[in-house]
Symmetry: C2
Subunit: 278 residues, 2 copies
């Protein structure tokens, strides 16, 4: 089993040391989270991220906006945070209410503070291998593969899902690590057959228990980046456990590493800012 | 055979009509080309693009810079063209001499004038399906497939190559058109086997006659976007002709459509600018 908590704990040690160094210079890394509306899952995620910051000594501030906030109002709040020098990272909790132009809101985040890796420009910099802050969940997936020494180069990676913050960036990152990458989605014909050709399978589709054990090539590595209410993964864990050589569980897989990555980026942003001003 | 010249001729008629409308409003679309150094192939390409503009009534200006131009000097020239309201599109002929930071130069082109679709931001907008001007060669490939009614949705497209201006954007565009997309490259293991699973094969690798007929699934559509000196394609045309159901030749395939696309984007840029100022 690829234990995400183990990876996150390892990252925590590194991060705690870095935060101590920054604090000696009088800098406390600070993450601003923005929550629009009162979706209970989103509230939980934002609270978890705040708690994780606290455990590492990173400051977090929480901006809570009513469900009826307009795109313009949301962008105004983001602009304030962009201009606030005490804020090093901005996270806009996804999804926002339907009437908001989410893409416009994401792109209002300044690239220096886009620690969640959600901006359009950040995506391209990431695809070209030069981003400061890759999208967090894709970066967490790569982190887990690296931590457990799973070879990526020359392997056939099959990504199920093509969202701008998960399927597309993880495909780009695996490609930059020299995997041969196939990106699948709802219109894919023969999905089962294609998944079966994968040495590494990334499930990022948002359908509970969607990927079955019979789809997995013996010895393949299976990463479950599912994002479903009730904390159920995209991968039918029990049936996939036998054919796979390694697999991430839900919970305790990609999730904790994603949160750790977000904080790592916030700390990095604070370091970069301190270098610029020193 | 998928005849690129036929597609380009069709586009030419459309474009000529659009230019006439713009000229009635007192606007002549203008493409600025920049050539750094004296590579004979690049000179030929730039000349071909200028001639194609002339045939459609689009004005073109040619900026020729010595091989020893620095990145800073090149960016200064680009900035001047960005600010020149009579210029609607800017093309920096690729490749530039090695000492120049090509990515920085591309990204100096303002997004409104990036008719060749080479900027980092343009790539991401394209990947997210909202770019004004997708990268020209990828766009030409899609144009040819559409012109000849080749279905894309649900098909398995295999792209060989991952350059920022060809392999990566064409993969993104085929994905946005609901193909299942596999991106291959120099580190791909079992390339032949993967190509053989493709319903649509895009060769964008830059190796003369690289793709062999024995790699092609019977009935597959083969697009040769090769970019080799001496005008030799990536596809071994004679051996691929039999198994494929349709194939683009070199010359007379993707090339003329790419040039037509560049001019189409320049005309579109001029239209967009005239709407903004009117």
């Amino acid at each position: 089993m690829l234990n995400g908590q183990t990876v996150a704990d390892f990252m925590k040690e590194e991060m705690t040391a870095k935060v101590a160094v920054l604090k000696e210079k009088g800098i406390t890394p600070c993450l601003a989270t923005i929550l629009v509306g009162d979706d209970p899952s989103s509230e939980t995620y934002v609270r978890m991220k705040g708690n994780a910051c606290a455990r590492i000594g990173v400051h977090s501030i929480k901006v809570v906006l009513p469900a009826e906030t307009t795109t313009e109002q949301l962008i105004q709040e983001i602009t304030k945070l962009n201009e606030d020098v005490s804020v090093h990272g901005i996270l806009l909790q996804h999804p926002v209410p339907h009437h908001i132009d989410e893409r416009a809101a994401f792109d209002a985040i300044s690239i220096e503070k886009d620690v969640d890796g959600v901006t359009t420009l950040g995506f391209a910099l990431n695809a070209f291998g030069v981003a400061a802050f890759p999208s967090c969940t894709p970066q967490a997936i790569i982190r887990i593969l690296d931590f457990y020494n799973v070879p990526i180069e020359g392997k056939h990676a099959v990504v199920i899902g093509r969202s701008p913050i998960l399927g597309k960036p993880v495909s780009a990152m695996l490609l930059n690590r020299n995997a041969t990458v196939t990106t699948c989605h709802s219109k894919t014909v023969n999905l089962e057959e294609i998944v079966k050709s994968g040495d590494i399978v990334i499930a990022a589709v948002g359908k509970p228990n969607f990927v079955k054990g019979s789809w997995i090539k013996p010895g393949a590595v299976v990463i479950d980046a599912g994002y479903n209410k009730g904390n159920i993964g995209d991968v039918d864990y029990s049936s996939c456990l036998t054919p796979s050589s390694a697999i991430t569980p839900v919970p305790g897989g990609v999730g904790p590493v994603t949160i750790a990555t977000l904080i790592e980026h916030t700390i990095k942003s604070a370091s970069m800012q301190s270098e610029k001003t020193s």
